[in-house]
Symmetry: C2
Subunit: 152 residues, 2 copies
Amino acid sequence: MSVTTDRLRGLIETTEGELPSLTVELVRDLEVHEQMSIAEVAELTGLSAHTLRYYERIGLVEVPRDAAGRRLYDREAVGRVVFITRLRDSDMPIAAIARYVELVKQGPGTEPERLALLEAHRDDILNRLRDLQGALAVVDYKITTYGGSCGS
Amino acid sequence: MSVTTDRLRGLIETTEGELPSLTVELVRDLEVHEQMSIAEVAELTGLSAHTLRYYERIGLVEVPRDAAGRRLYDREAVGRVVFITRLRDSDMPIAAIARYVELVKQGPGTEPERLALLEAHRDDILNRLRDLQGALAVVDYKITTYGGSCGS
DNA sequence: GCTTGCCTTCGACCGCACTCGAAGTCCTAC
DNA sequence: GTAGGACTTCGAGTGCGGTCGAAGGCAAGC
């Protein structure tokens, strides 16, 4: 589905059976340099440079600049982008991600709300999984019994 | 997630272990009368009347009318709508659904393409499932180890 | 010193899937 | 016969998440 996920999936699968995969680990495994250009981060994440600028514009990441004003993603910024990508891949709305990031910015004391946000999202994912499994059953049935009207 | 799925989920779960659930069975189990008004179909599927008209407008369903020109959904139309809803719940794009419906309209001979369409969509669903499971692992990890920055 | 090419900002635009509003029609109940 | 409510068509508007283009800056290589 998403390019990012395709790129990261292998890494996840290699750690299966161990702890659930961790963005930080993924970032460590992928080649993250201390300073990355927007093109490199785009290449790394599968997002377009446009999208990366967009994420910054709406406040999801803060990205340091070089002397000439060009973006130089540091390890933290890259980690953030990868994390956001993960959440987007699971259809978390940008607004919710923005809220989460906002809470992180506000610092300690906001953990309960952050946790609540993640738990709500976790429920969304579980529902989505069930939806998809249901739909998969229908499509599979259609495929295996293929005769093919479309109201049946 | 979707209202329709919420309503139908129970029915699916009751048939677990048997054959994969079938739209036609769902339709039989839900109370489908021979003639239903748009309001009744909306109530049944969880779609809005607006959305039902929209689906018809773009050619996804043909709906009979009564003498006064009002929509009177018959069993076939209702089945079609439920099937479409299932596909939409799994994020199949309207355009692909429209293509499928088009093939059904064209009648016999189009089965191979229909099948290919369904199989492609099946692959999409499987990828989506993997994406979601990956994202779930990340979110779960975040929740269980909760300390909370967002690049980690 | 000039071309090449990636970078910058900014605002406008796009595609998807609805969603809504206006204006009018038709049946039912009073 | 008239008020109410659910229906009709049509076209326009909305929200989301990007996506793009224009106009210009800066550094490296020729």
